[in-house]
Amino acid sequence: MIIEAHALRKTFIARRGRGKTEEVEAVKGVDLSVAEGEIFAALGPNGAGKTTTVRMLATFTVPTAGTAIVAGHDVVKEAAKVRERIGYVSQAGGVDENAPGLENLLLAARLAGHSRKQALVRADELLATFSLTEIAGRPVKTLSGGQKRRFALAIGLVNRPPLVFLDEPTTGLDPQNRANLWDEVRALRDQGTSVLLTTHYLDEADALCDRLVIIDNGLVVAEGTPEALKKEVAGDVVTLRVDDLAAAERLLAAQPYIKETQPQDDALRAYLDDGEHNLAALLRALEVEGLAIRSISLDRATLDDVFLRHTGRSLRDAA
């Protein structure tokens, strides 16, 4: 395990006006274990405690309680050793926009212990990997969002860390740049680098990670592979809108092929396996009962359904 965290907690003292303080429990007890060579995601709405968790694991924030061993060392007692073996790309990126990307890279490489010559070699490698060679001399503020993000990633990898933290790596990127960044993250894993990323995008966690935890309100509410988590809910989901929701809920509960029903706004989400076959039976049952259907749709269950099941609300509404 490259990350082993137990009961991590973080309480901030927030100032509320004159002399008044308030304790804010950002993280209420998180257990995490990430295997070597794995892409691991922490999925959750904004404010769930993902960033604080990552900051504790990356030695930026000292935990209020709990322990974490990262890359073989304790994050509190051996922070310096952890720092040698991790890369950290924060949500903000951490690139000095007034300087050229190359200068950013060279400074980071030299701080990591490279000589001037080694730093140049390493910077060249990273520039080539992320297709940044041609824009290496331009001030970062003149670059596009995707290019800045690639520089941030390159800087995070300068010391060849076995573990990289990526905090919301694709927030604000257009779909093309997002897809490219996903490829770059997969390439990292293929070279044996472990990745812990946070995201509030369901599709990102689903498509990219090997395992994930869902974090809500400072707690882990579910953990597993995307497939296993979705399977726990069901293969498919029927979203049904009718006038009499209560009657529909009773009817759905009586159907043997419906595993579970969750109300969501003015609709019902009914979970079932083998949806293509069972949809016909469901339609018949609704007709027999005389319930007028306003709309009905059949989809594959997503991680949002997992989130809904564990928290009672949709990730889209949770932010």
């Binding site: 901030f12 900051r55 990356a58 030695t59 930026f60 924030t61 000292v62 310096a80 720092r83 040698e84 991790i86 950290y88 790309v89 924060s90 949500q91 903000a92 990126g93 951490g94 690139v95 000095d96 926009e97 007034n98 300087a99 200068e103 400074l107 980071a108 030299r110 701080l111 990591a112 212990g113 941030a152 800087i155 995070g156 010391n159």
Partner: protein, 249 residues
Amino acid sequence: MFRHTMLFLGYELGNVRRNPAWAVLGILQPVLYLLLFAPLLTQTTRSGTLGEALRMFTPGSMMMIALFGSMFAGFSMINETRNGVLERLAVSQAWRPAIILGRVTKDMLVLAFQALLVMGVAVLMGLRLSLAATLLMLLLMAATGLFAASLSYGLALAIRDENGLSQIVQFFALPLTLLAGMLLPVSLGPEWMQTVARFNPLYYSVEAGRSLFADRLSDTTIPVAFGIFAVLGALSLAWSVRSLGKLAG
């Protein structure tokens, strides 16, 4: 540790080199003061010459850049608390004090360079300066800059708000300027003003500057000013490094 300080210094100087216009613009204000204000002072001096007015006024105008230029150094750091640069450096292998030390050293070097330019203009206008006085004045500027810049970084890390920092700097700047006798010597004022001025550290650097420019190199004001700024510089530096450690909350 020293290596990391030098790395940060080199990086910061690289940024100055790429945008030298800002550092050069910084000397505009004291030069304008020399050109447009010093001549007004000739009547107030004993001999009534521009040379004497320059001897009295140039050190004050130089301390103005030491104070103003350096007090605004923190603005770049407020930006760095937001764009993630400090966050990244905090979890890198960098020795943390070097992050501040490198920047403060850059500020001191830029200040010494600006001071040299201002003294050059004053000499062209008719001021006479010995080599020893010039070198000591550069050191005094650097010591004042060490204090003002570290204080500014410390304030930036504590406040983390451009408006707040700018209000605080403005709030203190004018009284500190007048009570240091930067424009006109405090000795021209009433006794209470002279008493209050003694609590203003900048008063000592301006006085020491005047002694240097008058070539009174053995004047006690000089070691007193260096002593005060060595202590204040160390304190403000320690404070800003500590504030950096608290960044994570």
